[in-house]
Amino acid sequence: MFEQLFPNVEMEDMVEATNETLYMTSVSVAGTFILGLVLGLLLYLSGPGGIWQNKPLNWVTAAFVNVFRAIPFIILILLLFPFTDFLMGTIRGPGAALPALIIGGAPFYARLVEIALKEVDKGVIEAAKSMGARNRTIIFKVLLPESMPALISGITVTAIALISYTAVAGVIGAGGLGDFAYFYGFQRRAFDVVAFCTILIIIIVFVFQFIGDFLSRKLDKR
């Protein structure tokens, strides 16, 4: 049955490609989460009424976020070639896709972080201030925990975007399911390979979405 439906699919190759996709996705999601959180916090805290209110800092952060969000991912990869070479020591393979994935994903996530933080009840921040909390305490014990469900759903959305970016990263020979579908499926006219890669990617997306929804719901005590 399987052989009839997918005559050209070699399981070993599929496992390798899936692993590459999972590797790129998980590392870039972790990197995006951290960098996006920092950028999002900077946007929120330096913004009007924020605890570090600072126009120049806010402007610079917003400019960085907007510029990198505006560049199409495929061009971003090419632009970052020298940077990737310097950072990773190579411009090929799954590792080489990571800088572009993180720099492409973080600005997008930063905006979601900013929105999540804006949703935190101002009164709660005020209450913390009235207790004599430091800014650090307000960030780590009020802002982040209170916005956690939104931060988690935000990273879920970003992770799914990153999964499709990993497929694009195939152009620099990054490997993964997208790369495999193009070179071994499309170019060899083995459409069953394309279909099988698609199914695997869909499964990965579903799993990420499920985990994200579960965590977000679990953390939400409202």
């Binding site: 709660v124 209450a127 207790m131 004599g132 909390a133 014990k141 009020v142 209170e146 409202r222």
Partner: protein
């Protein structure tokens, strides 16, 4: 305890400067419950937020426990704030923390070690009557219970002062009363000074020792709650007193009374504090040959004793009536002949 000198707050907006608090002077004694009442926009909310510098004063001074709050640096202010508890209209609890962890939060901020934190929090949970709810999340509590958590949280670091920012305005009347009882209880047990702002005269009446009435950024009238109730000078104060004592058809009913009771004299009696216990009416009718007809009356309890008014008609021979009134004037009850309010 707290002395406030020429406190001023101006909000600068694009179009105009808004004077929210205007050269306000006030002194609040240790251990008293001080109420500030005003309609929305009177500046009372800004005023209470100036007291712990959640709002930076434009000018003026606040002295708390011989410490000049207005001159403190940011880091010293943080320490000073641990001595000033605050509760809010919308409770402002962290929904991501349990009741226990919410109350522990100010202790974490103050750097209290974990074991001490635990025993202190349990103590507070008992104090505010939430035993057994420590593991609940705020979303599982009713409004009154949330405010109890707010109060426990505000008390965690043994503050000298508790600021209440419309603390009962979001609660129903019954829950309001139970929260007010809790505040009185804490005031008496811990000797805590409480400053509260509200727009409900009921709150002032029920728990405050002294009251200040605010209008457009200024204190227009202040004093003992009973005095203010008895002799409201300003129009706005009279309106607030009417909230509790009032009878919306009072004016109407006085007309009706004057129409219907032409004989004798209609007089209004004001009872304050202890003399509400006197049996004045029966006393008068026994001493003089007059009939006393009660037309309208209301007695209300305040923190400093009872306060009431009564409208009576005294009928009989003219000389007897005059004597009866003269006699009543010798007692501590205040007498107003042919009231025209």
């Amino acid at each position: 305890m707290i002395s406030i000198k020429d406190l001023t707050k101006v909000f600068k907006t694009k179009d105009q400067d808004v004077l929210a608090v205007d050269k306000l002077n006030l002194s609040i004694d240790k251990g008293e419950i001080y109420g500030v009442i005003g309609y929305s926009g009177a500046g009372k909310s800004t005023f209470i937020r100036l007291l712990n510098r959640l709002e930076e004063p434009t000018s003026g001074e606040i002295e708390l426990n011989d410490q000049n709050l207005t001159g403190l640096s940011k880091s010293k202010l943080r320490v000073a704030r641990q001595e000033i508890g605050m509760i809010f209209q919308h409770f402002n609890l962290l929904w991501s923390r349990t009741v226990f962890d919410n109350i522990a939060f100010p202790l974490e901020i103050a750097g209290v070690p974990k074991q001490k934190r635990e025993s202190r929090v349990n103590e507070l949970i008992d104090l505010v009557g939430l035993s057994g709810r420590g593991k609940s999340y705020p979303s599982q509590l009713s409004g009154g219970q949330k405010q109890r958590v707010g109060i426990a949280r505000a008390l965690a670091n043994n503050p000298k002062v508790l600021l209440c920012d419309e603390a009962t305005s979001a609660l129903d009347p019954e829950t309001t009363d139970s929260i007010l009882d809790l505040l009185v209880d804490i005031n008496e047990k811990l000797g805590l000074t409480i400053v509260l702002i509200t727009h409900e005269m009921h709150v002032i009446r029920k728990i405050c020792h002294r009251v200040a009435v605010m209008e457009s950024g200024k204190v227009v009238e202040s004093g003992d709650v009973l005095d203010v109730f008895l002799h409201p000078k300003e129009k706005v104060t009279k309106r607030f007193v009417d909230q509790v004592m009032g009878d919306p058809d009072r004016e109407n009913s006085l007309d009706v009374i004057n129409e219907n009771y032409r004989a004798g004299e209609v007089i209004q009696l004001h009872f304050v504090g202890e003399n509400t216990n006197q049996a004045l009416i029966s006393d008068v009718s026994r001493r003089f040959a007059v009939n006393v007809n009660i037309l309208h009356g209301k007695i209300t309890q305040t923190q400093k004793g009872a306060y009431g008014t009564m409208l009576v008609q005294i009928d009989g021979e003219e000389t007897e009536v005059k004597q009866a009134i003269a006699y009543m004037k010798t007692t501590s009850v205040e007498v107003e002949v042919s009231p025209d309010v």
